[in-house]
Symmetry: D2
């Protein structure tokens, strides 16, 4: 007989695992193989790697009778856990025609069945530890659900045939006025506190002193960003950090990623193809450098992650997440509840904070200590989730992070000022 | 009613087109997409590009009613014909998940049917011209049949799972003694002369003065090459051209491509997987630099292409071609007929001749003038065909060419001396 | 008649300008030209660029009669001020044989004379503004005095002849025990406050909450760092940030810069040549990545810049600065006064803080706003000055910053713990 | 008492050695150090390397009492002789501030005195061998005299101050009509034969069959090349070899090296500064790719090296060599003697021949075997010498060679046709 806890765990596990497979339904077999730049991974790789995560961190240590699915998969599907062993180089993931997709589905099934079996027969003494690891694995899988979408988008964009992932209805709401909500600051606390899941990098909850600040009521729109461009934003070094200006020159940036100008009309590539640029939608696929330059041009600045989190704590976690199946940011609702609109969903919001450890923080033990901690250099924090994030994955204290020049995530801009 | 000439042309055309599809039978859909280095192309690309060749150079100019299959295919499947228009960059062919394989098969069928229709209804006045272009297209397809095999081999090798293309029987004949056959030389002629197909780069037949020379009766074997390695061949700069020595250092070469040493046993990756190194087989997958260094170590030299061709003219075109389905060079038969064994098939033989125009040569007219002529710089000539070459594709005057550092073709060594 | 203020300004100005020229006395003309990597600049360039700084920011705007020395020098000797105009690329500074050293000395003299003339005749209403700019220019010159030494050291090291900059006496004091001094933290303040010179990046003084922490009484020594190396420090990824581990692999790091192992004896290249490694001296020329990895190996961490500054505020600014003419860190004095030894001088101390703006900060106006602010990304803060820093240049609030992989500055390690 | 042979040898030796020092008279000490791209070497390096050549190949083996000047110079001034030992990497020659110029002059003096002493006391039995090596060393020095000029020109061009090497008088003769002289060809001989000095790569004299051909009476001019440019020469791929077209794109070529367009006026940088482009002068500083593309555009071709040599054999070796001190090609004299004008001097003439060994050739023995032979791949032959070549250095059989993309030599175009 299965206890209730295990049953709920199985349901939870299966729900998230199944959602991954739903997300790849629109793909052809050929689409699973491509890695069009080293930042993205082939969809097949995401599906196998998330499975490997459960095999390596749950089944191998906790299921005695477990039979490894394939002796090479530790090498092929380890992403970056150096303390586990050598692994296939990231930039060469597109070289791997094999295992086939069918074999990867078999691998997923094999691991899923074993996880269920493990849960149904687990000794109570191990239940807590296994449940915690499963929870990490599922949040890990949700992160890859988002990456699946951003990587498919990038791959499709590289193909002159511009394949469609989905057919989307258009939206064209007008934006509300941008106003700046005041916060008094003072000695506040940030970081996770509570009984649900959270990552090690959100700990410990700790005190931070905040000077009074203001936060914009909504995101910067495409129309506003276009004004920056028309004012020579990409030609005037005074708006840019030194490394940002170098990126403008090196990469030849003249607009956000996925924008294109055709006979003075701007279009934007989306998961439902190339669309006329909607000026009311939040600007998206900008780097930290562009967000920072835009803010300087606008006479504002980006918020720190503490400012963002402190403001977000009271806001309900609602919005345009992956479940809406828009797969694209939406313009703000005129009847937005409250002054801070779209803090969650739509686009990740760049902060001015470099990603680093919280005071007194301790990474997870063992190989999972590599999960977050070793990236705490040369990256900037983003907050709030996007239209590709599962809603159950996000919270006020959640810290996402990317290098300041990356643009293929759904990343946008919320302004702040002193 | 179809005339006999057209009927024969259709049979010839279909035979070669079908053989391409037979060669890819062992592949999974996933295998068609991968480009593991910019030298190789994805199998799908070869299948579409050869089809595009007929569409672009035969159907569009000669079949009035012809409906282009897809408006983007000129961009996607033009390889390098600059005078036709811009094309998808070579190194990014692995980015193209779409069109799917199924669509490429439909494309092939569409073009094939149109070619047959064209042939069956062709005005006599155009027959000759169309037949000539078809002939080029078919020889072009045969070149890509060889590339399909060398590229699949390279892609499979990059995958740690080391997939099999085929299951091959082992062979281990002993080699005959290498002797050097003498040629008197003098004022001889080389270049194509005759009524069958030949490429523009084999023309015109012209006089060349040859000093007396000797040519080895057989190819250099793995065993002989291993002796060079054991004598420090890859560590002693005195055997190497300057650019060759730089290649040794840059690429870290210590053996031919596909060789691996495991606990003092050498293995070789083949289209039927990793095999113990057969010392009696011809050495294969060496660059020009390695062939040249080996020859210098052995106190010999490579033949010029004129020396090779002059010696080959009397030799029957028999041997281990793609039709044997060995897909790998074989050791020489002890009862080899005549003194020059394996001039054709098994491995392409590097010559000491830089690839250049013959005196008085004229490239083909129009875009096809780019087929051969524009590569006449920085490449070395290879002669004789390989185990991946269709036997009907080769002849004594045939000039293959690659950059001196390339190793993924079936390329080997025949020695010469003064 | 010259007023006293102007007289003192002239004396101050001349003193620092003269010291630059003293620092290059040991050089041959040839030494002034070399740029052995793009991080360093040729000594000649430093001498001209610091002069250009006064010409461009003081003489041109404030001395009406001023005659520009050379029309190309704005292009040649502007370092990175984008808003002033285009400039010679940094990595190509070693291409500039001309102007000759002699011409650069003439340039210096020309500017110096004009500055003196300006000061002696300055209208009182402008005095304050000019004095502020001169002060920035002189602190700027002091920064380049340090760079002159670190760049000469790097250039000399690249030459197999290993030239000497100076002859130094050996030192070999024993180190004191490393103990950890406790700080209670709480709501403290950091940032500059006072009437002397400070850079814009030290402002405003602001509140920071500090948890209790401990700071090491002295710097990590060569001997201690060697223990890390012998324990496999450079081979074990678990100690390293992800980008740090990539740097270890890419650059092939196995020790600090300037160390070399000869038959199991370690030597270290210094401005007085190659010396046996003194185990008692502070370890130097390590990157942030190495400092961070060492700290993790030692079970400690690096301090934040706020922790460092709060601890340093009471400490007297004494130590081994450029004026001692050791040009090399010294081992700690056994009779060190107080618990925090060598907070100033000897080596810059890496902190765990990414370089960013203080809350409410404002960069200087105009082109000088580019001086510090535009580098606030991808760099880490260092504190305390080094054996190449002029003592009058440093203070508790001073923020130096470099990319985390840089090693050619005199940079070392002080540990902290919770 | 000195015998006459030795006396003549000393005079010959001193004359050429002294001329090197005359060539660098216009330089400042700073100019001796710069290496503005890896193709060029610092002038100081040329002066030391040519000296090292005599020390290493003459003094060390033949002068028993010889004291090596400096133990590191074998490492620093060996250019590329792998069989002698490791050497300082070519691209890092600009890093070497030391030895100083003064020390290099001392080195030259030391070696020169020893050479004279050797010659004056040489045993008759060794005289021939030593004289041969000296001769190679002197021709080697003459090659570096040319490189000194081309490298100084390139370095000066990289400096925005555009220093002058010399002050030259202008010349503006009108060009004669270009006519094509016919040659019957047949079985001819090329390669050196005779008792004077020649390099190993000119041997042996051997038979070559030449079809009838025509050679242009004079070089292509700037004006003619400009017509090619105005006709879209750099935009039309049909004129270019595949690798040439790639070079146009990669390097952004739109004209020969050293040309610049200012408000529709073309200028050309010369050793006497920037000058208006003289349309009557021979075009210069073009790559093989440009020469080849120009020829194709003009409906002609480049000559083979055999065609060039066969035509040149009757032509007197007169012309604009380094001794004229123009250091720049001159327009042809209207009264040119004979139909083939400027076969020698002015500019090296690109041929269509890849640089390779002559049939039956043998490289020199020992390390000097690396002098020419190991470069026989990926380079094209140039003939005839230039305005930077010493006149005593050149002859009809002389083979110069460079990679097809190089442009910093004085290289130009003579057309041929069938």
């Amino acid at each position: 007989m299965i206890n209730n806890l295990a049953e709920r765990a199985v349901t939870h596990y299966s729900g998230i695992r199944t959602f991954t497979e739903e997300l790849v339904q629109p793909l052809e077999i050929e689409d699973f193989i491509v890695q069009s730049t080293s930042d993205v991974s082939p969809p097949k790789w995401h599906m196998a790697h998330t499975t490997w995560f459960f095999e390596r961190f749950v089944l191998k240590p906790f299921k005695e009778s477990y039979q490894e699915f394939h002796p090479h998969f530790d090498y092929l599907f380890n992403s970056y856990y150096e303390t586990i062993g050598t692994f296939h180089p990231r930039y060469k993931r597109g070289v791997l025609a094999r295992p086939t997709i069918e074999e990867v589905y078999t691998y997923r099934k094999h691991v899923d069945e074993n996880i269920v079996e493990l849960l149904e027969n687990l000794d109570d003494s191990l239940l807590e530890e296994v449940k915690d690891l499963l929870e990490i694995g599922l949040h890990h899988e949700q992160q890859h659900q988002e990456l699946l979408l951003t990587d498919i988008k990038y791959n499709f964009f590289q193909n002159p045939l511009k394949p469609l992932y989905t057919q989307l209805k258009e939206t064209a709401k007008e934006q509300t006025l941008m106003i700046f909500k005041e916060f008094q600051g003072g000695l506040v606390e940030i970081g996770y506190q509570g009984g649900e899941f959270s990552f090690d990098n959100e700990h410990p909850r700790h005190k931070v002193w905040l000077e009074p600040y203001k936060l914009a009521s909504r995101l910067v729109t495409n129309g506003e960003y276009l004004a920056f461009m028309k004012d020579g934003g990409y030609e005037k070094p005074q708006y840019w950090l030194s490394d940002g200006w170098a990126a403008v020159k090196n990469y030849g940036w003249t607009s956000p990623l996925y924008w294109k100008e055709d006979e003075q009309e701007w279009t934007q590539f989306t998961l439902s193809g190339e669309k006329p640029l909607n000026l009311e939608e939040p600007v998206c696929h900008v780097s930290f450098y562009e967000a920072d330059a835009y803010a300087r041009w606008a006479g504002k600045r980006l918020p720190t992650e503490a400012e963002w989190e402190y403001a977000a704590e009271g806001v309900a976690i609602e919005g345009n997440f992956v479940e809406t199946q828009h797969f694209h940011p939406l313009s703000a609702d005129l009847e937005a509840k409250g002054l801070l609109c779209k803090m969650y969903g739509d686009v990740w919001e760049w902060t001015s904070s470099a990603y680093g450890p919280y005071p007194g923080s301790k990474p997870m033990e063992g190989a999972l200590g590599e999960y977050n901690a070793k990236f705490m250099c040369n990256q900037m924090v983003l907050r709030g989730g996007s239209c590709a994030t599962p809603s159950s994955h996000i919270r006020a204290t959640y810290r996402n992070f990317f290098q300041p020049e990356k643009r293929w995530q759904f990343s946008g801009i919320r302004l702040a000022e002193d």
